[in-house]
């Protein structure tokens, strides 16, 4: 009876049960809540105790401090610049190029299936 309850989602080489994992996540969230309760509760809002510390640098307006979307993963995109050049040239907005890819695939598949 316990065996059929635990045995769910059988793949080709084993099985895996999501209910056990859900229980583990709930226990982990409970632990996080308990650890958070160990923090200090006596502080004064509005004074120096709640300002962010930026190693002595001044803080600009909120608009310029937020890391924008196009600046993330800059290292990844710069390192693979050759691959991205080819991909960007494939995806220009030209309608005729889209139909050209369709006809190229038909031609290639004709040759492969016709020969064999």
């Amino acid at each position: 009876m316990l065996d059929t309850f635990l045995k769910s989602l059988e793949t080709g080489s084993g099985f895996w049960n999501p209910l056990v994992l859900g229980l583990a996540i709930i226990i982990a969230l409970l632990l996080i809540y308990i650890i958070r309760g160990f923090g200090k509760k006596d502080y004064k809002t509005g004074t120096e105790q709640t300002k962010a510390f930026l190693s002595g640098n001044p803080e600009y307006s909120k608009d310029e401090m937020h890391v924008k979307g196009k600046n993330l993963y800059w290292g990844f995109t710069q390192a693979l610049k050759s691959v991205y050049n080819v991909l960007e040239k494939m995806h220009n907005g030209n309608t005729s190029d889209y139909v050209l890819w369709f006809v190229i695939i038909i031609g290639v598949l004709f040759i492969i299936i016709g020969v064999i």
């Binding site: 793949t11 994992l21 937020h66 924008k68 979307g69 993330l72 993963y73 693979l80 991909l87 494939m90």
Partner: protein, 533 residues
């Protein structure tokens, strides 16, 4: 027979006819009031949902069914060649029809308040009901030319819906590209259907499947049909219309367009497994074409996973990133189907382990159709909610929205975990099946699939940090939460995702396994029509 058996007997054409009737009555009803029109559309789709449930229960317990238009059941006496249009319903059809009706109902619920202050809404509801009719028709039919007519209806109506924002110039551009590519693909499909009729003098799928050989013209027909239908479902390198069309249309329209794309995938499954089943799935030859088709489909699937994930990493427009993710997910489904064909080929000289791995890959691919439609749909609904609240979609100008829109953040978190395959959401269940079964066929495929899944997580973490976390931007200070009907639609999808993720066995045993078995043996499909009553 009592009324319940009467409805069950006539439910296949009623599923197509009820939305069609509602589509033509909607302009009349909308002259009364706006709320009455919304309620009318919702009630008509609920009636269709009831019919789908009745038909599904009947097919899953009693087996395959045939509905002949304009004659007795199954064929009039004295005729041994089927010359009428027939609907043939087996378990694979029921699986796709259930997905479609869930997508349609949630989209209408979402567009109750998403489209409240826009103009021309009676035409919008009419065309959405026509699109739903054409998707149902594509999935229920058993006749090739009927399939072509419904395919053309879905092309025309979805082009009209993509160009909904007529005052912006990008939507018109995307609609024009979509209609050019779709009509060229449909014309090639019509050419292939004409060639098949010239050889075998029949348009019925079961009759052609019974008599098919692999001559020179059959090879031409196979290439044209697979390429045309794969282009409609978004396989690389013919996927280029998909990011433009998905990202420049309203969010509730994109939710149904996902259903139209999956109907194209269903069409290619019918061509490979049912019409050409006797040639491609036969293990009696020595070097036979199933292996070639399997290798081609797997290669195109891996290519589209790569292109989808790499292009999604560089973009900064919210909806375009989700659209490129949709291209990658279609690649996963085609990878699973190709693995089944290769596994069937390699298992011929006494190696049955490959066939078991191939069967689990097929089940994983079919289960992934359901999961992918729900996950990508939830992400598009969240993107629509952000656009409704702030009127912007670019990542460079948004930030710190989690303070004002709490529920939307939670739904986006659920969608993020589900798309990238994290347990215990439903994405993990189907992707685990695909990983473990493609590993036994060739380890490189499994490694590529896992790496690209992790990169999808990277893509959406970037989106989450840019839009929802961070300090509060002064220009977005008074952003309010979205209205209640949009929240209800998103909550419904999230509940279904969590339910399927926690209890995947219920769906696999009752819906996916009968569908996989219906695709694998073609003799049941053929003998119901050709072998007599």
């Amino acid at each position: 027979m009592n009324w319940f058996e009467l409805i069950t007997l006539h439910s296949p054409p009623l599923i197509v006819a009820v939305p069609l009737l509602a589509a033509f009555l909607t302009p009349l009803v909308s002259k009364i009031n706006d709320t009455v029109r919304n309620l009318f559309v919702l009630i008509m789709l609920s009636i269709t949902g009831l019919l789908v449930l009745i038909l599904g229960y009947d097919v899953l317990t009693n087996g395959i069914r045939v509905y002949v238009f304009g004659g007795g059941a199954p064929l009039p006496s004295g005729m041994n060649i089927p010359v009428r249009i027939m609907f043939e319903i087996d378990s694979m059809t029921i699986f796709m029809v259930i997905i479609t009706i869930i997508l349609a109902l949630i989209s209408i619920l979402y567009s109750w308040s998403f489209m409240k202050d826009k103009d021309g809404l009676d035409k919008y509801y009419t065309i959405i009901l026509l699109l739903v009719t054409s998707i149902f028709g594509m999935e229920l039919t058993g006749d090739l030319f009927n399939f072509f007519v419904f395919l053309e209806i879905s092309c025309i109506t979805s082009c009209a819906l993509i160009a909904f924002y007529v005052n912006k110039k990008e939507s018109l551009d995307a609609a024009f590209k979509y209609i050019v590519i779709s009509s060229i693909g449909a014309l090639f499909i019509l050419f292939a259907i004409g060639l098949l009729y010239a050889q075998y003098n029949a348009l019925n799928m079961a009759t052609i499947a019974n008599a098919i050989q692999f001559t020179f013209f059959d090879k031409i027909v196979l290439v044209l049909l697979i390429t045309g239908l794969a282009m409609k479902s978004g396989l690389a390198p013919m996927h280029m219309w998909l990011p433009d069309a998905y990202s420049r249309s309203p969010a509730s329209v994109t939710f149904i367009l996902v259903g139209a794309t999956l109907a194209g995938l269903y069409g290619s499954l019918r061509v490979i497994f049912t019409i050409y089943g006797n040639q491609l799935l036969n293990t009696g030859f020595t070097f036979y074409p199933g292996l070639i088709i399997g290798i081609i489909v797997t290669a195109l699937g891996v290519l589209s996973i790569f292109i989808g994930v790499f292009m999604a990493l560089k973009r900064s427009d919210f909806k375009k990133m989700i659209a490129y993710t949709a291209v990658a997910e279609i690649g996963y489904m085609f990878l699973a189907i190709g693995s089944y064909l290769i596994g069937l080929a390699l298992s011929v000289p006494d190696n049955p382990q490959m066939l078991i791995a191939g069967t689990y890959a097929l089940k994983g691919g079919l289960f992934h159709i359901l999961n992918d439609a729900l996950d990508i749909g939830l992400l598009f609904l969240v993107a629509g909610a952000v656009y409704y609240a702030t009127k912007q979609t670019s990542l460079n100008s948004l930030g710190g929205l989690a303070r004002n829109m709490k529920y939307t953040t939670i739904f986006f978190l659920i969608g993020l975990l589900a798309v990238s395959g994290m347990p215990p959401m439903n994405g993990f269940a189907s992707k685990l099946l695909i990983y473990q079964s493609t590993y036994q066929i060739s380890p490189i495929l499994s490694i590529i699939a896992i790496i690209c899944s992790i990169m999808l997580l990277a893509v959406f973490v970037k989106v989450f940090q840019s839009i929802f976390l961070g300090p509060e931007i002064p220009s977005l200070k008074n952003v309010k939460e979205v209205p209640k009907s949009m929240l209800a639609a998103m909550a419904l999808v999230a509940c279904i995702i969590i339910f399927i993720g926690l209890f995947p066995n219920i769906i696999i045993d009752n819906l996916v396994t009968p569908a996989a078995e219906a695709l694998q043996n073609t003799t049941t499909y053929i003998s119901t029509i050709v072998g007599g009553t």
